[in-house]
């Protein structure tokens, strides 16, 4: 018994060491990004790069906030984040529809959904813009958010995951007289917490970084997002790297918070829902 335990321990140690080595390699650029945001411009492109700023400064952050129309950009970004969670919900519904119902032509429709992943976005940019223009959605938040509301990747992921939910469970609920939407909200969503957490993280990142549509749809800067605001700091020839790294570092903080918040659902997941 004790030998089994020590073997277990060694395994755990090996896993930890592997993770640490990999983790250092993986996180180097990230660390450089953060530390660069505290460097003066003349230190930033030094070779070899310094991991810790020699003359740390907050000037980049001060410049960042004085240069950015911060309040407006943040508000717009948050609205987009909120609305894209509605889209997440649509995707979950669609994923469930594909996973747990049978209807004629289901697979064909699903292939159609998948097909939307396969064309580079730039090719459809102008047609989408013209469509939104016809719909009178130029210079509106709706025009910015609508095209990205449904995503094939997300529908596919929900479908894959929800397909693993035992159908007996749903049938049992139906026999108890639960309606389809009741089942979805009260049974499926709680069971699917891990995948909602994953999708929540991805949705948040995408919305938080949204760049192209806010720029293209907006006719004035009142609809710009944080990403658009940050990219305004870039010059045609000259790049102020330190300022950009401060911007990037600032953009990453909320993502880390969201990640830590959601990841506990990825870890808990099924084990607490009592699903066998």
């Amino acid at each position: 018994m004790s030998s089994g335990k020590s073997k277990n321990n060694t395994e755990r140690w090996i896993a930890t060491i592997l993770l640490i080595i990999g983790g250092i390699i993986v996180s180097l650029p990230f660390i450089w990004m953060i530390s660069s945001s505290f460097k003066p411009e003349n230190e930033i492109l030094q070779i070899p790069p310094t991991l810790i700023a020699e003359n740390p400064t907050f000037q980049n952050y001060i410049d960042l906030f004085t240069n950015l129309n911060f309040g407006v950009y943040l508000r717009n970004t948050l609205i987009i984040v909120a609305l894209s969670f509605v889209g997440l919900f649509f995707n979950a519904m669609a994923g469930y529809g594909f996973a747990k119902y049978h209807f004629k032509g289901k697979e064909k429709v699903f292939y159609l959904v998948l097909a939307t992943m396969m064309i580079p976005g730039q090719v459809t940019m102008i047609p989408v813009y013209l469509l939104l223009n016809e719909m009178g959605l130029i210079n509106t938040m709706a025009g910015i958010v609508l095209p990205g509301l449904a995503a094939a990747f997300s529908i596919f992921l929900f479908r894959m995951f929800m397909a693993t939910i035992p159908t007996d469970l749903i049938e049992a609920a139906r026999l108890d007289g639960a309606g389809e939407f009741y089942i979805f909200f009260r049974l499926i969503i709680p069971i699917s917490k891990p995948i909602f957490a994953v999708q929540g993280i991805l949705t948040f990142i995408a919305a938080w970084n949204s760049f192209l549509w806010p720029l293209i749809i907006a006719n004035d800067e009142s609809l710009y997002t944080l990403s658009v605001g940050l990219s305004l700091l870039k010059g045609q020839y000259a790049n102020n790297f330190a300022l950009q790294m401060a911007g990037a570092a600032f953009m990453v903080i909320p993502i880390i918070i969201i990640f830590s918040f959601f990841q506990k659902y990825i870890v808990e997941g099924f084990t607490t829902s009592g699903l066998k």
Binding site: L45, L137, I138, T140, M141, Y182, I216, K234, G235, Y237
Partner: protein, 409 residues
Amino acid sequence: MKKKSIVYPSILAVALSGVLAGCGGGESGGSDDNTLTVWAMGEEGKLLNEMTAGYEEAHPDVNVKVQAIPWESAYDKLLTAVASGNGPDVLQLGTTWVAEFADAGALLDLSEHIEEYPEFDPENYFDGAQTSMKYDDQIVGIPWYVETRTMYYRTDLLEEVGYSEPPANWDELKDAASKLSESGEDVYGLDIDLNDQITPFIFAWQNGFEFDAENPNFTSPEFKGALEYYTSYFKEGISTTSEGIDIVQAFKDGQKPMFFSGPWMINILNDQAPDLEGKWAVAPMPAQESNVSSIGGANFSVFHNSEKVDEALDFISYMNEVDTQLEWMEKSNTLPSRLEAWEDPKLADDEMYSVFGEQLENTKGAPPIKEWEKIAQELLATIERINIGGADLDEELEKFNEKADSLIE
């Protein structure tokens, strides 16, 4: 229960459209009667906002709205504007994009207005900049600010190899660069940016090459000679094809003591290499037959379907007054396009800027044809095949000439 199933999505849909409509808000398109919309790029767009007050004071009935557009996506934004006609009134356009957008009919022909505004007289601007004003026989833009390429060099290091004055012609440049290269390991006497589209043409122009759109003559001795000179730097190891380190640091360390660049580099060097002060300078391009350099920068154009042409022209005219241009220069560190502005002591007496002023007298703009971008890219690919792929220069130029010929139709 069953009823609920339809109720849910409908509530959701109603709520969503409410939210979306609520967020849309405000005016659509900025088509108010007295708003003049201006698109400007990147940092300049943000700074331009601070410049409009002066104009609005003189024109109390006009409200200028500047929308800053990031450089990296400006093209996307312009495309959608061209496709839908939802453009601004006034548009900042990089000189290399003028031909293409003029060809598409996106820019208003200003010919009939040119005489109403003394500021628009082509004689006010550098010769090279006048190229970018015209497309076919139309006037499609007014130069706003300009840039040209000059030579940046380390005075102290050149002194060490016997050049107390910067190299003034091709032979001296080659000689100085080779001596610098030999002065230490990993030193590359002259840094040439292989991704820069205009540098090969600068050499060609200096060698007496004239581009003829009717009949591309890239096999002419002038062009060939220039490319032989250009590629010899790489063949002889005076310049490097590998990325190396960032030019500022390499300049600081003395590993790349000479390079060509534009006026923006002055500030970068001052900011990023403050301890180098006094050890570097700029000089006009070394000459072969001439010391022509390129001219670029940005123009103001009026979008083709603007309903406020007069206001737009007034605004451009105001921005191009000599005093406004000088104010703009101080704000944005870009160089004024007006010849007269260069008489101001702020430029004429500045040891760096005055070199640019001198060089600007002798510049050429990229030929105003819409295929230029493709030709320039093709040339870079050709040079890459010679430099890295070891291809034969004569053969490659033959092929390039044919390709260019087929591109221009």
